[in-house]
Symmetry: C2
């Protein structure tokens, strides 16, 4: 059975099926109606790079190295001056799937390091069309080079130069390119009768948000909604393609997000986390609970709904299971195989760990969530207008100083209070019972935790995308400055 | 064509189909899947009595008298010491439907005045099972009598005495009684082949929230969710009954709410307004945008979704239209006939007026909403813990003093910003264009407005439910104190 993962940045509340009031995602809603909706599905980190590393390794960022120790509880990712990346010692899903004869392709944003040793084709992927970093820019190619776009081993151009994004109008045809790549790859795999793993990691809903001309101005929601509509349309076309080729019953498809909607980009370029608190960068539900849909016609009963506590890391274990493979036994794997959940409606008891960098901020078990640390961002950053919780303020919860609650965790019941607004009374029996249980899980987690070598500590202008492989052919090699490694600055 | 209206207090975000994370409303979701979901549907007031008066008269509360002038912009309703009620001069939907041979029944909370002249059977209903006021209590029958439950003209008992509600456990079997009443009425009407209007105005989700024993503890959401599950189950049974009797294609059914979820009762007894700002009592979207579903098998295409700006007042005009009747021409009717929207997918251009008592607080036209006044509640009330926007605070928007913006309205684009968090810049062209248009609508509205005699100004302990008709038979007549009419106190 082939598998496909659609991963992008979208909030829990961005889909019609999840209650977005303009209800403009007919294809994703249809995917949900034909498949299974996961309502309690989580990413592994409230920021992109660590989440993606977790998805592909089945391991928490604190294990696979995608975190920083430069400051306490800081989110970190892979900007183009990052020195680190995915360690060779990590085993990635496509590397493992090779054993079962899979061909793997990543389309879109890699984000696990852009230096040669971190290249996706060195970590199991067979094909790549996309970029190593976020499509930020345009840059001047002197202080900072524009981000390259790769086809397999070589750069074929740069964003803003060869792959246009009009920041004024929001126009860019990149999603169409990514769509065509996906359709072509699927056709090719179908023709060669080889199982495949497609990782469709597009970025149109990540600021700077963009959409193709035909979608611009078509949404009630502005540019962000235009991008969502184009993605929705593309997902519909990909699923339809699988059906037309007659391989939909042999292809397991999963749609989810790498972090909650970036409310800091709202209202023009940010999405919705529905009824949840705050967004991207935070360990409140808005930062880490994600829309999630499993689709596999003929196997998953249509219209299914699951309250399984799920994680992007489960896609690692589930994809291996679909290929008849076991996850590696020489290391701790955090993902679980969701097939019993999806095919037999089982509920597997497991906690969700909410990390921010090197700190375990919160833990969910059942319907209870205990916060050991709370922080949205610093007063200093907040004073500059950086607000991860616009319009939301819960006394003692959305704090602008790092508040420790390790001795007396803040406890929420997410069934009665999905918005994390009403902490349970410390004196209640319910509190004591729930915290006792969660404390046990935390102790167990901490006792066996072997943190990986932190990859996101050091930055150096010299490692930027000055001269990616292939730049000579294009005449696009740039001169790197002298190496000057420094601690990266992670303000939140 | 018969018609049925399910009206209760529930928030926009309380249904699975509207993104409630526990997704525990399979029957309502099914109703939506078989019918049409209205995503932009409004009540006429953020409080119960005025909304209900508006539904049954097709007119804004400021016209039909269901408002107060005791203070500026105050919400008012019909507690049992209210002297006023629905004026005889108002024409109610069941009165008008009589001309087409309809039999009408109200099951549940009437709330348009409890004195003899306001009795529902004096205003067009043929049958009644339920209460004139909210099921608050228990009272001591000396300072304050317990609320009576009527069958037709006579009281048959009182809440807490003859109709038990256990405030400790939340157990009460009232929804089951109301369900059975509905099923029996429908059976009777089907047998007699007479068209009917059923107004199922149940109150299990209004504090004090209750559910029957079989539903207690069955929801992820606590007692409130148990009540929602029981209502959901009941709606399913009623729709199923229509189908079993073979009259579903002759019965138009509408489900909606009289105001947004009461966040003040959260988390144990309050619902969810999804991504919207604040709740009941406010003129933000959370107070007035409502879940709404139209169901009419064989007529409404399944799975329909409408962005028509709709109102509970439209149920008046639509029900008349279904009966082949015209609305009265001697007065201003605010409701519109939704049949072209429902059957032909039309979109009718019309504004939504958001009132709080005697003040026009806000107006929506298209995707724009202009606030002329903002107020959640006073600092004094807020200081007492009365919070209509828990965890939400938007600077200059969720104000605790009455803020006038009549010269420079606060403008929101509800497509990009459904949560009313980001007012548009006053200097923008978009602002000027939208406000110009809305100002025209307001001028027109004000120029033709003839306010009704305010009914909710005077309170008097002597008018309470001391000796409702039928009390003698039950030995339940109580002695009224001397009349002492006073201005009612409406703090918000």
């Amino acid at each position: 059975t082939s598998s496909g993962v659609f991963l992008l940045q979208m909030g829990w509340g961005d889909l019609g099926a999840f209650g977005e009031p303009s209800k403009e995602t007919p294809n994703l809603d249809q995917m949900a109606a034909e498949g299974m909706l996961f309502l309690d599905f989580y990413t592994a980190n409230p920021l992109c790079s660590p989440s993606r590393a977790a998805l592909l390794t089945g391991r928490l960022p604190v294990r696979n190295g995608f975190y920083t120790t430069n400051g306490h509880a800081r989110n970190a990712y892979t900007p183009q001056d990052i020195v680190g990346g995915i360690p060779d010692s990590e085993l990635l899903l496509p590397e493992l799937l090779k054993k079962a004869g899979y061909v793997s392709k990543i389309i879109g944003k890699w984000h696990l390091g852009h230096r040669p040793q971190f290249h996706p084709l060195k970590h199991g992927f067979d094909e790549w069309f996309g970029s190593p970093n976020c499509h930020f820019g345009p840059y001047d190619n002197r202080e900072r080079p524009n981000i390259p776009v790769y086809r397999d081993w070589e750069m074929i151009g740069r964003y803003y130069e060869d792959f246009k994004i009009d920041l004024k109008t929001g126009e860019a045809n990149l999603t169409q390119l990514y769509l065509q790549e996906a359709l072509d790859f699927i056709s090719k795999q179908q023709a060669s009768q080889q199982p495949f793993f497609l990782y469709w990691a597009i970025d149109a809903t990540h600021a700077p948000v963009y959409a193709s001309k035909q979608f611009l101005g078509t949404s009630q929601r502005g540019l962000y909604g235009d991008a969502v509509r184009e993605i929705d349309d593309s997902v519909g076309k990909i699923l339809n393609h699988l059906q037309q080729l007659g391989i939909s019953e042999d292809t397991f498809v999963f749609f989810t997000s790498d972090n909650g909607a970036a409310l800091i980009s709202a209202p023009m370029q940010g999405g919705s986390n529905g009824p949840f608190l705050c967004g991207k960068q935070t360990t409140f539900e808005g930062g880490m609970r994600e829309p999630a849909i499993a689709w596999w016609p003929g196997h998953i009963p249509a219209g299914g709904v699951s309250h399984q506590l799920g994680s992007v890391m489960d896609l690692f274990s589930t994809s291996l299971s679909l290929a008849g493979l076991q996850p590696p036994s020489d290391r701790q794997i955090d993902g679980i195989d969701l097939l019993p959940v999806i095919l037999q409606g089982k509920l597997i008891d497991r906690p969700i760990f909410y990390y921010r960098g090197n700190e375990l901020m919160a833990v969910r078990a059942g319907l209870y969530k205990a916060h050991y640390w709370t922080w949205s961002n610093s007063w200093e950053e907040h004073g500059k207008g950086i607000d991860f919780c616009p319009g939301q303020s819960v006394s003692g919860v959305t704090t602008h100083t790092q508040e420790e609650h390790t001795y007396l965790p803040l406890l929420f019941h997410l069934g009665r209070d999905p918005g994390e607004k009403f902490p349970l009374s410390f004196a209640s029996e319910e509190y004591q019972r729930a915290v006792e249980r969660i404390s046990g899980l935390v102790q167990q987690h901490r006792a066996t935790l072997v943190p990986g070598q932190p990859q996101l500590n050091v930055c150096d202008q010299a490692v930027m995308n000055w001269s990616p492989p292939g730049c000579e052919k294009l005449g696009k090699c740039l001169k790197a400055p002298e190496s000057d490694p420094k601690k990266c600055s992670w303000p939140h």
